[in-house]
């Protein structure tokens, strides 16, 4: 299983928004992250109404959509770099673009594109059955999410039969708001662990090595997203500099997790 390998040690999960600044850059950045030791590569599909995202990823989505980035294009890009990547890939998409593409067709093309998991922030446990069925037929995992205010009843429902890993939202809020992470994270992750044996990835607001160092002991993996998206945007005019920056940043995060 792709994720067993990825979580053998503390894992670095990286999120980028596909199509920002363009799909060619996204492919190059994925390769750079893979080289720098990222363990799971999350690939965000831009959406017009990303309610779980803060300004950084909202703006990246808007830019990617202005360049006509589509789910079909993202899957083709993934197919083109499939042979070059070691780390498993996870598509992160809101549910409507997946539904418009067709769940079955998406599952088929995602498998062709080398995708191992799918993460859908607006598809909570209880609403995901049709997509989960389509994906599991193709051997792809629908990654489940929990949040600090999930009840024990919901944690049990999420934990039951969970595969791959569980994405634990670190805070009450949207992506990129690290200041909202509270010191109750260890207690929260302890609660989640009582309901599952799969690894726990912690994401939202983890903006650099300093915060990563504080949180790493409690989780099996950390997700970095907005901080990476910002760096890509800052270096949009110079591909070489962009890739160097991405590698340096990912390596600094990876260092904390060793």
């Amino acid at each position: 299983m792709a994720f067993t390998q990825a979580f053998q040690n503390k894992a670095l999960l990286t999120y980028i928004c596909a199509g920002d600044p363009d799909l060619g850059a996204t492919a190059d950045v994925l390769c750079a992250l893979d080289d720098a030791g990222a363990d799971v590569l999350e690939v965000g599909v831009p959406f017009s109404d990303p309610v779980a995202d803060g300004p950084v990823i909202q703006e990246a989505s808007t830019r990617a959509l202005a360049r006509k980035t589509s789910l079909g294009g993202v899957l083709e890009m993934l197919h083109s770099v499939k042979g070059a990547l070691r780390a498993p890939r996870v598509i992160m998409s809101y549910v409507n673009p997946l539904a418009a593409y067709g769940f079955d067709r998406f599952a088929r093309d995602a498998r062709e594109g080398g995708v191992s998991g799918v993460l859908v922030p607006d598809l909570p446990r209880g609403e995901g059955a049709p997509l989960e069925r389509a994906l599991s037929e193709k051997g792809i995992i629908l990654v489940r999410m929990v949040s600090p205010n999930s009840s024990d009843r919901r944690l049990a429902a999420v934990g039951e039969g969970a595969e791959g890993f569980i994405y634990c939202v670190s805070l009450l809020g949207v992506t990129g708001e690290g200041a909202r992470i509270r010191d109750t994270v260890p207690t929260y992750l302890g609660r989640v662990r009582r309901h599952t044996r799969v690894p726990l990835a912690l994401g939202f607001g983890i903006d650099g090595p300093e915060r990563a160092r504080a949180l790493a002991p409690h989780a099996d993996g950390l997700v970095v997203g907005s901080a990476l998206v910002s760096r890509i945007h800052d270096h949009r005019g110079n591909r070489g500099a962009m890739l160097r920056e991405v590698k340096t940043f990912a390596a600094s995060m990876k260092e904390v997790l060793r």
Binding site: F47, L65, P97
Partner: protein, 405 residues
């Protein structure tokens, strides 16, 4: 409640559900429990009834529009929701939700608004209860509904302009949901229409049902019979469900929801979600949505800010597919003409939203026997729309009444 057809809680047939981030699942469960507990609680209902009567001025009358009726050849009755405190039906739901919030011990209300009517209603109710209130409003709507922004500020609410996306209602909903996610422990999200995740579509319909319950009793009392048709405009669809709900079981009563065709269905610049949209997921519900082939949500267009929304309540999607309600469209020109016509013929300036329903009577009347009874939900008053109409097609739109027969 909220389960037509399949029996799945929170679904109307295949429409509805709770398509939200996990962070909101707990708060939605808390809200559902509170609504279940208080919704049928005698004290709560009595307090809400008192507020609706003494604070908002309910019941609102039905009024026979004699001069309009003479022009149309059918008897047109208007349910005068425009006579509510704050000038629209939105106060019914705002009082219900803010009363619920106060029972739940919430100290802060978050709301979205399009035309500003819901925002004003929530700001009003929040002031009445001494609860802090933040209203998200698209920057475009802030511009075209300036008087309502002033009213909200006067009532002590914080109005936050939203600059993302199309800068209208859709984006204001996104931002209000993000605020709620971040402040779920202290804040109550007062959603203004029969949209969003369960339990909102059911709860908002329940708080608006007073419109239909009153109107049905009033028309029976007045005429000794039910109307032949009930007409209401549909943006998210709360005034329409409010009045339709009381008539759904009356099979002989035709129910018509009127969507905004904006600049015309053919131009792509419209807000006709049920007429031209496809089922999809927006703001927490599976329902008809204006979207492109990639599943990106499209911007809606209507001169009327309250109808300018690319989604619609899931129960409307259910009624569309079941055929119990038929959905028609009226464009900006027809709505502006009806705005003038009702003002001149009846001395009632309708909200541009409601003018869509009024305009549809012109097309409906020829299909009905002479003397048929049509009940139109006049969901709000039009003072807020003076500037929009004046500027329409370069203006001077307010004096265009002469060509209206």
């Amino acid at each position: 409640m909220g389960d037509r057809g399949t029996g799945r809680r929170g679904y109307f047939g295949s429409f509805g559900g709770q398509f939200v981030p996990e962070t909101l699942m707990g708060p939605l469960e808390e809200l559902e429990r509170a609504f279940d507990r208080y919704g049928n609680d005698g004290d709560f209902r009595r307090d809400l009834g008192d507020l609706l009567r003494d604070f908002s001025g309910r019941p609102t009358p039905i009024y026979e529009a004699h001069r309009l009726s003479a022009q149309r050849g059918v008897r047109v009755f208007l349910k005068r929701e425009d006579l509510n405190h704050t000038g629209a039906h939105k106060i019914n739901n705002a009082l219900g939700q803010v009363l619920l919030a106060s029972r739940m011990g919430k100290r802060r209300i978050v709301a979205e608004t399009g035309a500003g009517q819901h925002g004003v209603a929530v700001a009003t109710a929040a002031a009445r209860f001494g609860i802090a209130c933040t209203v998200y409003m698209g920057e475009e709507d802030v511009r075209r509904q300036a008087p309502n922004v002033e009213r909200m500020a006067l009532l002590g609410a914080e109005v936050v302009p939203v600059r993302a996306g199309s800068r209208t209602l859709k984006d204001a909903v996104n931002e209000a949901m993000r605020d709620w996610v971040a402040n779920v422990e202290t804040s109550f999200f007062a959603l203004g229409s029969v949209t969003g995740p369960h339990p909102y579509p059911t709860m908002v319909r329940d708080f608006q049902r007073v419109i239909g319950d009153e109107a049905r009793a009033q028309i029976l009392d007045h005429l000794g019979r039910l109307p032949d048709a009930v007409v209401a405009c549909v943006g998210g669809g709360s005034n329409a469900l409010g009045i339709f709900s009381a008539f759904v079981a009356d099979e002989g009563v035709r129910l018509v929801g009127v969507e905004a065709a904006g600049e015309g269905l053919g131009t792509g610049r419209h807000a006709a979600t049920l007429t031209r949209g496809k089922p999809g997921y927006l703001h927490g519900a599976f329902s008809y949505v204006l979207q492109d082939d990639d599943g990106q949500i499209l911007e809606a267009h209507s001169l009327s800010a309250g109808l300018d929304y690319p989604g619609v309540g899931p129960e409307h999607s259910f009624f569309r597919d079941s055929g119990r309600v038929t959905y028609a469209t009226v464009d900006d020109d027809e709505a502006v003409a009806a705005f003038h016509e009702l003002s001149r013929l009846e001395g009632i300036i309708p909200a541009l939203e409601s003018a869509h329903a009024v305009a549809f009577v012109r097309r409906l009347a020829p299909e009905l026997a002479p003397g048929s009874v049509v009940l139109v939900n006049l969901s709000g008053r039009g003072d807020k729309d003076m500037y929009s109409v004046a500027a329409f097609r370069g203006g001077p739109g307010l004096r265009r009444g002469a060509d209206l027969s």
